[in-house]
């Protein structure tokens, strides 16, 4: 069953299309992705969001979200 379009927003997450329910904030997005806040940094539309602002930043249609972490590197 398709969700009501009014309640769904399509964003770009790490370069790929991703559907979220409307009015999702960054904390909720991380919860849904099962990602721990203290291991990542988030950029929304090219701007880094400080961790304490995650509850206040709500995502909108077409937002470009990047979630990064540390991997092995030289």
């Amino acid at each position: 069953m398709q969700m009501n379009n009014l309640n769904v927003a399509k964003i770009q997450l790490n370069g790929n299309p991703y559907e979220i329910s409307a009015e999702t904030n960054l904390n909720q997005l991380l919860d849904r992705l099962k990602i721990k806040k203290n291991k990542v940094a988030i950029e929304v539309n090219g701007k880094i969001v400080e961790k304490n602002k995650y509850p206040k930043v709500f995502l909108n249609k077409d937002d470009k979200v990047e979630i990064v972490h540390f991997i092995g590197g030289g």
């Binding site: 370069g15 991703y18 291991k39 940094a41 950029e43 979630i67 990064v68 540390f70 092995g72 030289g74």
Partner: protein, 256 residues
């Protein structure tokens, strides 16, 4: 007397910094890092894999509380990319000590020093403690020091080449003129290369590929640990003068 290695007011016992790339898996990474005795490890900043959330994380194998994570900008070719990467790295968990590396060419992986200096200047203003990968050019190294970086990291040879120090004279010149630590970064292929870097007077060595691509990375990591210690002690001991001809080690009097 203890021989302490200080970077940006933080003291370390080990003068070996190791990279965490190119290993078979995180278990091998962790075993090699532990065998190397390194206290600082370089890490890269990349996108989280959204589709496979069960992937293991580096942080689960190398506790950032036990090791100093040194986020790098490997793969960045412009100042903008490098700045974006390190600002994100800082946001992950307050990392201020970073390794700046702005590349200029995909084949040689030589640093683009114009972009590197530009980036270093901005990062220092933003209160980052910047360790900088650079060419082995004394003039540009001086420029970096003037800009306020906390360590100068000249290449021994191209990244991943494993051919050792190509220009010892330049490394010595850079070390002699620098008030901040000089760490040979890139090009070390085996233990003796690391020892030579230390014998030249460098404050430390950064190794990744030489360990990760050895047939036995954990053993090579251990070897690098001893190589750096050996080179450092040899430097501190001040080696003998070289002679053109032989000089007997046993007394020449009272020969039978």
């Amino acid at each position: 007397m203890q021989d302490v290695f200080t970077i940006a007011n933080k003291s370390f016992k080990s003068r070996l910094i190791v990279g965490t790339g190119k290993y078979k898996n995180f278990e091998q990474t962790a075993n090699a890092v532990k065998a190397s005795g390194a206290e600082i490890v370089t890490v890269a900043v990349r996108r989280v894999n959204i589709s496979d959330k069960n992937q293991p994380l580096l942080m689960d194998y190398l506790d950032p509380k036990s090791f100093t994570y040194l986020p790098n900008t490997a793969g960045c070719y412009t100042s903008e990319e490098a700045l974006r990467t390190l600002r994100l790295a800082r946001e992950i968990g307050g990392w201020k000590l970073v390794k700046l590396e702005v590349l200029g060419d995909k084949k040689t992986l030589y640093p683009n020093m114009i972009e590197t200096i530009k980036s270093a200047e901005i990062l220092v203003k933003e209160d980052f403690k910047v360790m900088v990968y650079c060419t082995d050019d004394p003039i540009l190294s001086k420029k970096l020091e003037d800009v306020g970086v906390c360590a100068i990291m000249p290449l021994a040879a191209p990244i991943g080449s494993g051919i050792g120090i190509q220009n010892r004279t330049n490394i010595i010149l850079i070390k002699e003129q620098s008030a901040v630590p000089v760490i040979v970064d890139a090009g070390v292929g085996t233990a003796s290369d690391a020892t030579i870097a230390m014998e030249l007077g460098c404050d430390g060595v950064l190794v990744n590929t030489a360990i990760a691509e050895a047939q036995n990375p954990v053993l090579m990591a251990e070897s690098m640990k001893h190589a750096v210690i050996a080179g450092r002690k040899a430097y501190k001991a001040e080696r003998m003068k070289k002679r053109k001809y032989g000089n007997p080690s046993s007394p020449q009097q009272h020969l039978i």
